[in-house]
């Protein structure tokens, strides 16, 4: 009876000893992992912060205009729809129509 008590107690003791050390180690590992992850998060956060700042600076209107002036020579100007011709025949047809209308107006003016 007595022996079995001691054996049980020793087993329990050893069991708890092992479990405690395992738990303690696990806690340490978890804590380290958390620390590493936090470090990573902080770095990412810092990177994002700086990238956003860079992005907003590089896409600011003043910087974009500088780049356009440096890289591109294309300029855009407004043009009237009436001055756009799809082909040469399209142009000549429209010109013909305009001259016919002009002639009609001139004739009318002469009659009056």
């Amino acid at each position: 009876m007595f022996k079995s008590k001691i054996i049980i107690s020793t087993i329990v003791f050893l069991f708890f000893l092992i479990i405690t050390s395992i738990i303690k180690n696990q806690t340490r590992i978890i804590e380290k992992k958390i620390y590493k992850l936090n470090e990573l998060t902080n770095l990412k956060e810092k990177d994002i912060n700086e990238s956003q700042l860079d992005f907003h600076f590089l896409t600011s209107p003043a910087e974009i205009e500088k780049k356009i002036k440096m890289l591109g020579q294309n300029n855009y100007l407004p043009i009237k729809n009436s001055k756009i011709f799809l082909s040469l025949s399209n142009y000549t047809n429209i010109q013909k129509n305009i001259s016919v209308i002009n002639n009609l107006y001139e004739e009318k003016a002469k009659k009056n």
């Binding site: 107690s9 003791f13 806690t27 620390y35 912060n49 600076f57 600011s60 100007l77 043009i79």
Partner: protein, 575 residues
């Protein structure tokens, strides 16, 4: 009690037995031993159980808690935000805190001070070596240079001096440099306290730890601000003005989309500026804005049903006398003018006649309701105080055409917004989501509609003073104002307040130039005729600048410009 019971038991005992004393003693001893062993085991058991409990609690705490662990405090990469971002209406970043450092010195750690000073002189010629030498000799910790950038940090590092220490601190970075004024967005000091503009006004809110991740949203629009700033800069150069200002406001909400005051400086640098030219002309500048006020006179006359826009005022004299003052018009106008023509041609005498019809009491009440003479209510502390006026003899007459009365451009622009938005009084604002509409109406919607029509004619009609703002499809309306500086007749302020599109007003644009000159090299296309500027009036400079601005910001503001899109497409050509 127990003893007594034992005694009674002994007396009544009828039998007895012998026991082996030695054996019993052994038994007792071994029993005692096992008891103490068991106690120890229990103690250990309890100890380990408590340890398990403690660690279990810790695991639970680590997995549940969101607060940083102790290790994080030591982390060098930690970026603990202490001030909120400021963004524009489209979410474009205006200001943000970044990690940077100050370069400081521990004089006691500097072994060879002479050598250190030579190194500094060679690598950092901009630093005052004499001052550094004095500080070094005093043996007290001091800053070599505050707010250093990465390249400077590396240069300091390269000196290989033990005594140099880099002290981390958070600096406020303004991504657009000088685009926003120092007293609009503002600045912060080295301790991250707001010292001007929105940064100062919302200092507490910007440091509120509960909402640190939520940026403060302004009503300003970076892209529009840039275009207006560029065009205004061009106008200042073209007309050799000493300064200028521009303001774009939503007439229905009071949102300020752009607020430009030139000259300005890069707000990333902290400078001591004593030149008054750098004050915010739009909110702090107090000006006599001239003919701008004629719109208010006409609106008041219409509101009181004294006249209609078509009412003809007959026999308008060329000049009037009021006490010792002579009131006359710059140009000769026909003798009979309709009410709308008085505004279109900007007749001083016509305005005086209308003001007399209105009467001083009603005029005074109207000016009081507009709050033109009070400090502007805006979310910055840098606001001007208009001069108080005494309604003595001739005041009504001069005020009717905008002389002898001062106000800030932001107030004038907000009253113009009220004039065209149906008469609703609005408060201008720099912060999104604030209540700005007031229950009170300044004028009726009907009068507002009439005023819209007249303002359009100032731009579109042949006799109007603002031809250069008549941009295809934007139905621009507005009023020009040319005035001498209040109390300083050498100064000149040319202003144009425009409203567009007048068929359904959305925006008010104020453009102001200080001391502009006639540009003899600039050839204007005035109603199909190539000409040079005949006068130094706002019609020939501020209106011109406003026209250029409207042409560029119109498409961004998404004004449905059918006139333009039906007739034009973009042509690409290479130089």
């Amino acid at each position: 009690m127990k003893k007594k019971q034992k005694k009674i038991k002994d007396i009544n005992q009828s039998s007895f037995y012998f026991e082996d004393y030695l054996e019993t003693n052994k038994k007792n001893k071994s029993l005692k031993k096992t008891d103490s062993l068991q106690d120890r085991i229990y103690l250990l058991f309890f100890f380990f159980l408590s340890l398990i409990l403690i660690f279990s609690i810790k695991i639970a705490h680590l997995s549940l808690s969101t607060s940083p662990t102790f290790n994080q405090k030591l982390s060098s990469s930690k970026f603990a935000l202490i001030r909120r971002d400021i963004v524009d209406r489209n979410g474009i970043l205006i200001s943000r805190n970044i990690n940077t450092s100050h370069a400081a010195v521990f004089p006691k750690l500097v072994k060879n001070k002479k050598n250190f000073l030579i190194k500094l002189r060679l690598n950092f010629p901009e630093l005052s070596i004499n001052e550094i030498e004095k500080k070094l000799n005093s043996n007290k910790y001091f800053y070599l240079k505050k707010r250093i950038d990465q390249s400077e940090k590396e240069r300091f590092w390269a000196l290989g001096e033990k005594g140099i220490k880099f002290e981390f601190f958070q600096a406020r970075m303004y991504t657009h440099g000088n685009l926003f004024n120092h007293d609009v967005v503002g600045q912060v000091d080295y301790d991250n306290y707001g010292i001007s503009g929105v940064e100062k006004y919302f200092d507490k809110e910007l440091k509120d730890k509960k909402i640190l991740r939520k940026p403060l949203k302004l009503t300003l629009d970076t892209n529009i601000q840039y275009i207006i700033s560029e065009e205004l800069n061009k106008a200042i150069t073209t007309f050799r003005a000493t300064g200028g200002g521009a303001l774009l406001m939503d007439v229905n909400t009071g949102d300020i989309l752009s607020l430009v005051s030139l000259p300005n400086f890069n707000i990333n640098k902290r400078l001591v500026i004593k030149d008054k030219q750098y004050t915010n002309k739009i909110t702090k500048g107090v000006y006599e804005l001239g003919s701008i006020f004629k719109t208010f006179t006409i609106a008041l006359a219409l509101e009181n049903d004294l006249v209609t826009p078509e009412t003809i005022i007959k026999n308008i004299p060329r000049s009037l006398r009021c006490s010792i003052h002579k009131i006359s018009d710059m140009k000769e106008h026909p003798k009979n003018l309709s009410v709308e023509e008085i505004l279109v041609r900007s007749s001083n005498v016509g305005s005086v006649i209308l003001a007399k019809k209105i009467g001083e009491e009603k005029f005074k009440e109207f000016i009081k309701n507009t709050r033109l003479l009070k400090n502007p209510e805006l979310e910055i502390e840098e606001v001007g105080t208009p001069h108080k006026i005494k309604w003595n003899k001739c005041k009504l007459e001069t005020v009717s055409f905008g002389h002898g009365i001062t106000t800030t451009p932001v107030q004038a622009a907000s009253v113009y917004s009220t004039m065209v938005n149906g008469g609703k009084l609005i408060k201008p604002s720099l912060i999104e989501g604030r209540e700005r509409l007031e229950a009170k109406n300044l004028i009726s919607p009907n009068t507002s509609k009439k005023i819209n029509g007249i303002l359009r004619k100032v731009v579109s009609s042949e006799n109007g003073t603002a031809y250069f703002a008549d941009k295809n499809g934007y139905y621009v309306g507005g009023k020009t104002g040319t005035a001498e500086g209040y109390g300083n007749k050498k100064n000149r302020v040319n202003t144009f307040i425009s409203v567009f599109p007048t068929n359904k007003p959305k925006y008010t644009l104020l453009v102001m130039l200080e001391n502009p000159q006639i540009n003899k090299d600039l050839i204007y296309d005035y109603r199909g005729v190539k000409t040079k500027a005949p006068y130094n009036t706002s019609g020939w400079n501020s209106v011109y600048a406003a026209g250029q601005i409207i042409e560029k910001i119109g498409p961004i503001l998404a004004i449905n410009n059918k006139e333009f899109t039906n007739q034009y497409v973009a042509e690409k050509f290479n130089n």
